[in-house]
Amino acid sequence: MNNAAIIGIGMTSIEANKVRDTFADMAWEAVNKALDDAGMTIDDIDNVVTTSNDFWDGRTISCMAVGDASGAAHKNVSCVEGDGTFGAFYGLTRVLSGSYGTTLVTAHTKGSQSISSLITNASFDPIYERSLGMDMITACAMQANAYMHRTGTTSEQLAMVSVKNHGNAKKNPLSQLPMDITVADVLKSEMIADPLHKLDCSPVSDACCAIIIANGDRADKYTGKPVWIKGVSFYSDAFFFGDRDLSKALSLEKAAQKAYAMAGIKNPGKEIDVAELYDAFTYQELLWLEAMGLCGDGEAGKLLEKGEFAVGGRLPVNASGGLLSGHPVIAAGLIRMAEVVKQLRGEAGAYQVAKARTGVAQGVNGLCGQSHCVWVLGKDK
């Protein structure tokens, strides 16, 4: 694949509570930053895809809140409900279909405006499950236990993900929670649901991200440095936890394999220089690394201990600080993509990974990583 590139990125800072900003204000900020980054005006945007979630936003037709601020009032526009990586996928197809030369993609949430436990409880089946009162945290805690039981990954290894990512966030001025913490700090923090301590969990945050996708002909027409889309794929697992093996991520394995194949990557562990993964919880970074073939099955914890995934290591993961340092749901995956773009352009400032040429970004939809979208991006055409 060499027909499309990301030519502009923009995002707000990630905060616990953007009390001054409505959804539209956040979109306005992110979209203008992306346009400035690309050296474009809104007239250069041929169509718009926004990404939002009605439950999180507390309004049905949640796209109505950001359409105007995204410049969509007199353009072709649509809305994906799901993580930003899925919105970007749809935005890409609207360019590859030949209908539009450029697509502006946005994704937003204001986690501060809702009670996340109730929002994610609503993902459970209303007849068989919802009244039990589980939410994303208890569900993922159950998955963490299954993963640790199968692979022997320890609580200490999970804690090291938190230490690494909060530490990385110190170099990212947009992150919400830059912190100097130790493994002991994580293990002493409040146990929310076994085995997940408070510092094993991401916060729920406010932010908006925007990216601009262009076809091959338009990619060089503006001043933004293009980063090429080499591969993209997404798959969903079964819905009921009891239909799945929670200790694995089969839909992610498939999505990653397909994205690598599109990109011509045969040995991802060697050929991927930088990764931004969906670390909503510490165990997820390890589980997703293994499922994506970026290390051996069950090995991620040990390799983390050896420093392989630190910024100076073999494969830096979440140099930006990841979601543990700030988790605006829905925008989350799009921000992963934007962070990989920064790395491949050499624009990641204090958290730049040296010589990054090929990167992978991943987004998640649904409970316990039911559905995954994987993007492979490249510096060179």
């Binding site: 309004r59 109730l118 945290i137 299954a146 146990m191 076994d194 239909d243």
Partner: protein, 160 residues
């Protein structure tokens, strides 16, 4: 527009304290269980029996029951009665009183694969100290005294 630059607009609003509007969406729901779920729930309520539904093509046995086999895409027609005993696939102990949890914490959630079923179901675990729970342990369903045709006609699962 760089991160640190303030626009003229920002400067004008600097001394204005943002207002917050508290509200709530109240949309009542009545979910149709459908015939398949109704049959399962009635069996819990009236007979204290857990049923599963088996695909006639691939033989996969589903709890919760599925009207159509997701793989074969044919209607499942064979109801199977299960013993109510099973094996624990995974669990968690909720310690913080998260908003969705209606019971008082600590609350133990389990993923239980019932004997005779190929899939597992979510429910509560009780009658065991959290430290003693082991993935792979044997559990069995405890039915509630008051049953109304919901998944909570099973009150919880407890160690065998």
């Amino acid at each position: 527009m760089k991160n640190n630059e303030k626009t003229a607009l920002d400067q004008g609003f600097e001394n204005i304290e943002p207002m917050v509007f508290e509200s709530k969406i109240s949309v009542p729901y009545s979910w149709w269980a459908g015939e398949t779920a109704t049959h399962f729930l009635k069996s819990l309520r009236d007979d204290k029996k857990i049923l599963a539904l088996k695909c006639s093509k691939c033989g996969k046995t589903f709890v919760p029951p599925r009207k159509v086999c997701p793989a074969c895409f044919v209607k499942n027609t064979d109801w199977v009665e299960l013993s109510g005993q099973g094996t624990l696939q995974s669990f968690t102990v909720a310690r913080r009183q998260l908003a969705a949890i209606q019971k008082k914490v600590p609350v133990i959630y389990g993923l239980i694969k019932l004997d005779g079923a190929d899939t597992a179901m979510l429910h509560y675990l009780e009658g065991i100290a959290p430290e003693k729970i082991k993935i792979g342990m044997r559990v069995e369903a405890q039915f509630a005294a008051d049953r109304n045709g919901t998944i909570q006609d099973i009150e919880f699962f407890r160690p065998v």
